[in-house]
Amino acid sequence: MGEELLTIDHLHTSFKRGTKYYDAVDDVSLKIHKDEILAIVGESGCGKTTLAKSIIGLHDLKRTRISGHIGFENRELVGASPEQFDQLRGSEMGMIFQDPLAALNPLMRIEDQVREVLDYHTDYSSEKKHKIVLELLDQVGLEHPERVARQFPHELSGGMRQRIIIAIAIACKPELIIADEPTTALDVTIQAQILDLLRNIQKQNHAGIILITHDLGVVADTADEVVVMYAGQVVERGSVSQIFNHPLHPYTRSLLKSIPQADHPGDRLYAIEGSVPALTKMPHDGCRFAPRIPWIPESAHEKIPTMHEPEKGHFVLCTCYQNFEFENGEAV
């Protein structure tokens, strides 16, 4: 494990609805090191993307309140000015978005789009920039970089576009790359290639990668550390083998159980009761997962859930994991 890169402590990100603020990210603490892929998993609406945008400073501060602490290379990012973020984004932090077509400018040639980052953050000569662009395109596995550099986004396939986005994100060799659902819009074979590419880049640049996804297969295949989020909170975190081989929190265990399994095709799948509460209806105290496992008595939950560390490096929220069983009594 490399040195510490990013530390998040008791982060709250709240959005204004009417006159009140509601916490979309509620008391999240985590760390990411160099040379590490940290996956954040959870269903839609659980705060994954909100967390990522808080790190990279993409929230509209007129309607969002961020409190807590985000430390990145001895700098405090909570309350940093837009100018400070401008210096960081692109050069020290890169972001990869889900929809590559929406993230690219349809009217600019690929070369100009990749060069934009270099124009802003470096003062290289224009020949050198041209050379770097071609190297980048080559590094992300595009054949004929010279030709691709002259093309427009609509001329490329989905997988190629996502490679361009990655090339832009890594142009200044950032220490931290945030990938928000980078493969959700892609086919499985392309997905496998993009994940390989991310891993290679992490090795070459010694970067830390935050991989946000809802696909547990992708997490198991790629991540070193895993953070499971539910309703704005981190409910479990640990190494990838801890999470997949000894999942503790009822939410993690329910999610893993609802994957269609190869050995029991056609059987009834496990479905979690109820649904994720809406942001404005989020309960303030008590275990937020409790309404979805109603057969567990109230006494099993903590009044104010806290993080426990039953084994080294493996954290879990609330005490309801201790005697948790599925409704029909079977274990995972």
Partner: protein, 315 residues
Amino acid sequence: MSLVEVKDLKVHYPIRSGFFNRIHDYVYAVDGVSFEIEPGQTYGLIGETGSGKTTIGRSIIGLEKITSGKILFDGHDVSTRHERKEQHYNRDVQMIFQDSLSSLNPKKRIYDIIAEPLRNFEKLSDTEEKHRVRELLDTVGLGDDDLFKYPFEFSGGQRQRIGVARAISTNPKLVIADEPVSALDLSVQAQVLNYMQEIQKQFNISYLFISHDLGVVRHMCDSMAIMHRGRFVELGTRDDIYNHPQHIYTKRLLAAIPDIHVDERDAQRKHRKEVEKVFDTEQSRYYDKNGRVLPLQKVSETHSVALPEDQVKGE
């Protein structure tokens, strides 16, 4: 007898250009596929983006004009609009779409959305209609309080279930489900798939299940076909495809699925790289000069693969 028989279906789109807008080439979206769907069974169509799987679904239900080939439903030809009308085809075949929000009219209440197909095909009194809509909502696990809500008031999973209720309202024999769960989260996906299976048992419906998710197809489908470039590369039962894949493209697709077994991930990754290498070197043997998939060869009673002729051997 099979419920649906698709025979040598072709859908070609003309590419026009030049001064007189003359046709100078075609896109071969679907290029000669044949398969059969048995009553009460789920047939899976698997393929990557652009492979033509949605086009097949749309041509079966009649949203796409077919270039040549035949579609037989219950033994009757339903390839043209005129023939479909005669067969009550629009009542017997329904569809579930991928994007639940855009497939429900935002200005209509759930009651009217589900009652619309009933009003088209069945003459029911007001009370009968209400009773039937309630029954349908009940089969997909929604209650009476939801009757007069609008689509935006529901979550994605609930909306997809409303789509399912609407599709089964006319007691169809075949439901075409085009990526019904790809937009849903894992736990919600489980709910929708469970409801689809229960409904199938209850009403003896056949599904044509179109998806790119091999895990979901393995769970849902008894037999399936893998598509690539508008043609089938392999078709067979679940066991044929997942345990004895023979075509290089099927193998590659299966190897690319990320596995949730963390301890085996390095081995899995190595296996994937090997398959990828074999795919690169041997690809040309499995496709003809123009990149077309070869004709299917039967390797067993249920299993057909688009293999070069010298490679055909029994199982």
